[in-house]
């Protein structure tokens, strides 16, 4: 694919960038430049860009798609594609791919890791030791057992199922909500998220973000989860009513939260940083060397398939 002009929207992975440079005609977008410079760049290169490689948070909006008349494919270095204007892509006949499957285990691992970290207060305990408090003040606080906690999963897709299998090993009963009930002998279906939250100790967001799931974790759901409940979000910041979440955590109406995603990454509300009943992660659900490499190979594989007229590996559109 040496003649394929690829626009890399922002730095995302050294191996991916190196392979794109080696195998295609790579253009690096001036992501941090002011809007007029970005527009000028796109105008200058519009003729040669046939592929865009983007990340989950950056996506590819209508303005970008419209600025690239020769665009044939948008390859996402993420499983989420909520920020790609799919309608515009369909109109223009632009293909879209993502990276499902390869990151399922890592994201599920982090979801469970965050749940344990929140319930057992591991980062806070680590901070207690580093600040010399163990010597100065004595024992840390009592926390609550993770094993056996009722886990409610919003979205029992690949990632949701991987989370379910992990927490089962801790004796956690699993319930779920999604649009259609399936036949899982060991998992209890709830027709609404509020009912799911009311019967869960740990509520995990594991669905994709779209019009139906935006702010699916509403004030009502947060209240149902309650002062003993913990929210774990490894989906998208947009799944949660963030101001409501922050208020509930600060006021003790929600017990705790483990958050890998936020509405306005990389900005995290000051009020969240001030709390000690939360564990905050910088969107690293797929953040391992092994998985990012596998994701890069999926992106490259999709581009190769596209230029050789073969079926795309993981098409969204």
């Amino acid at each position: 694919m040496e003649s394929l002009g690829v626009l890399l929207l922002h730095p995302m992975d050294a191996y991916l960038e190196q392979e794109l440079a080696r195998r295609c005609r790579l253009l690096r977008f001036c992501w941090d430049a002011p809007p007029d410079r970005r527009d000028a760049f796109l105008r200058a290169h519009a003729g040669s860009v046939r592929a865009v490689v983007t990340g989950g948070v950056a996506g590819a909006g209508a303005a970008l798609i419209d600025a690239l008349p020769r665009l044939e494919i948008v390859a996402c270095f993420s499983v989420g594609f909520d920020r790609v204007d799919l309608a515009r892509c369909r109109e223009r006949g632009v293909r879209v791919t993502n990276t499902p499957g390869v990151l399922t285990d890592d994201v599920a691992d982090l979801a469970v890791g965050l749940a344990i970290a929140v319930l057992r207060r591991i980062p806070q305990a680590d901070g207690y030791v580093r600040a010399g408090q163990w010597k100065a003040k004595g024992d840390f606080t009592l926390t609550t057992r993770f094993s056996g906690k009722r886990v409610g999963i919003i979205g029992l897709g690949r990632i949701g199922l991987a989370i379910a299998r992990r927490v089962e090993a801790f004796g956690c009963p699993v319930s779920y909500y999604q649009r259609t009930k399936r036949d899982y002998p060991n998992y209890t279906f709830f027709p609404t998220v509020v009912e799911l939250a009311a019967t869960s100790d740990v509520l995990v967001v594991a669905c994709s973000l779209n019009e139906q799931s935006r702010r699916i974790v509403s004030r009502e759901v947060i209240d149902a989860l309650g002062p003993g409940g913990v929210l774990v979000n490894i989906g998208r910041g947009g799944h949660v009513d963030e101001p409501e979440l922050v208020a509930a955590l600060a006021e003790g109406r929600l017990g705790g939260a483990g958050l890998d995603v936020f509405e306005d990454e990389p900005e995290v509300p000051e009020a969240l940083v001030a709390l000690d009943n939360v564990v905050l992660a910088p969107h690293m659900g797929s953040g391992t060397r092994e998985t990012r490499r596998a994701m890069a190979d999926v992106v490259l594989g999709n581009l190769e398939a596209h230029v050789s007229g073969k079926p795309l590996l993981t098409p969204v559109v």
């Binding site: 024992d139 057992r145 910088p282 690293m284």
Partner: protein
């Protein structure tokens, strides 16, 4: 007459109980409901005087709840000073504060905490392992220090799936850890004094060989003469520069000086430690490392463990006083 400083209930119908352990209020109340409690720490007396008073009281105690960890040793002299004692209930899993041979000789039955703590310790071990491999606590500090908008992504961690985890000690805790880690796609190996029947994990008769074939070593064994510094310089070298140590056993299971040296020199990749050789002192070099997670001996510190311990202790005492077998006997075996 029991010393007036000993905290005791009024009713003479409740059996006497010797208590040598500090208790949280719910536990203390639960015992007082059922027993006439002779409370050493509340008495403020020296141990010999306290024991003498207990022995000469109208209803000398037949059972005792005694804390471990070196506060008191239940040996021949102790048992001689309260000859009415027929049952000792420990509140930990370790019983090295009890002279079991002496207890056996006298027909004194002994119970420990059984598997009361095992689940919470196993969960904490898994939490530490995920934290170290995926850098949860370190990335958390990064976010709280407002570095995410400045530096972009936090450095990548490493995947759990496919990691070979060598568990030193496949008892209650080790087995629970193994079962949990299998669900994450880890490959479990183990070492213990003898291979376990009905276990499908690969057995290694020596810890150094276990280390050389493992990516993560989890210390889940008791502390005794054989296991002191079981993780030593040779084992760390066998584990190698990509290896991780998780310690939820006892600080002295690991040669702490060698561990710190190996971490400083990059000869191992990281560690998750809940226990240290000289608690609550944690060596200063560890406090600034980004590739370690340090917790202040909290693996059993949950409210559920507390209430399970209370139920287990009372269950053992009630069984003894009803002439039934102990729930979690150490003696008779």
């Amino acid at each position: 007459m029991a010393s007036s400083a000993a905290v005791a209930t009024v009713s003479a119908e409740l059996p006497s109980l010797l208590l040598i352990r500090r208790l949280d209020p719910p536990f203390a109340a639960a015992l007082r409901q059922r027993f006439r409690v002779l409370d050493f720490f509340a008495s403020g007396e020296p141990l010999p005087a306290f024991l003498a008073a207990a022995a000469s009281s109208p209803d000398p105690p037949r059972a005792a709840v005694i804390v471990g960890g070196g506060v008191v040793r239940v040996d021949a002299a102790f048992l001689d000073s309260v000859p009415s004692l027929r049952c000792i209930v420990g509140t930990g899993t370790g019983v090295d504060h009890l002279d079991l041979a002496e207890c056996a000789r006298r027909g004194v039955v002994v119970a420990n905490a059984g598997a009361v703590y095992s689940v919470d310790v196993a969960d904490h071990a898994v939490g530490l392992l995920i934290d170290v491999l995926r850098r949860v606590s370190a990335a958390e500090r990064f976010v709280r220090r407002r570095l995410w908008p400045v530096h972009g992504d936090y450095p990548l961690g490493t995947k759990l799936g496919g990691k070979r985890v060598g568990i030193i000690g496949l008892g209650n805790i080790g087995s629970l850890i193994a079962k949990r880690l299998e669900a994450f796609g880890c490959i479990v190996y183990y070492n213990s004094r003898r291979p376990k029947d009905l276990v499908s994990y690969k057995y290694f008769p020596n810890v150094k060989d276990l280390a050389s074939e493992s990516d993560v070593l989890v210390v889940a064994c008791a502390l005794n003469k054989e296991t002191r510094h079981v993780v030593n310089k040779d084992v760390l070298e066998a584990l190698g520069k990509d290896g991780i140590i998780i310690n939820i056993g006892r600080g002295a299971n690991v040669d702490e000086v060698e561990l710190i040296r190996a971490l400083k020199e990059g000869r191992i990749a990281g560690a998750g430690l809940d226990v240290f050789e000289n608690e609550p002192k944690v060596p200063a070099e560890l406090l600034t490392m980004e590739n370690v997670v340090l917790t202040p001996h909290i693996a059993v510190l949950t409210s559920e463990s507390r209430s399970d311990l209370r139920d287990n202790t009372i269950g053992n005492l009630e069984a003894f006083f009803a002439g039934k077998p102990l729930l979690t006997p150490v003696l008779p075996m």
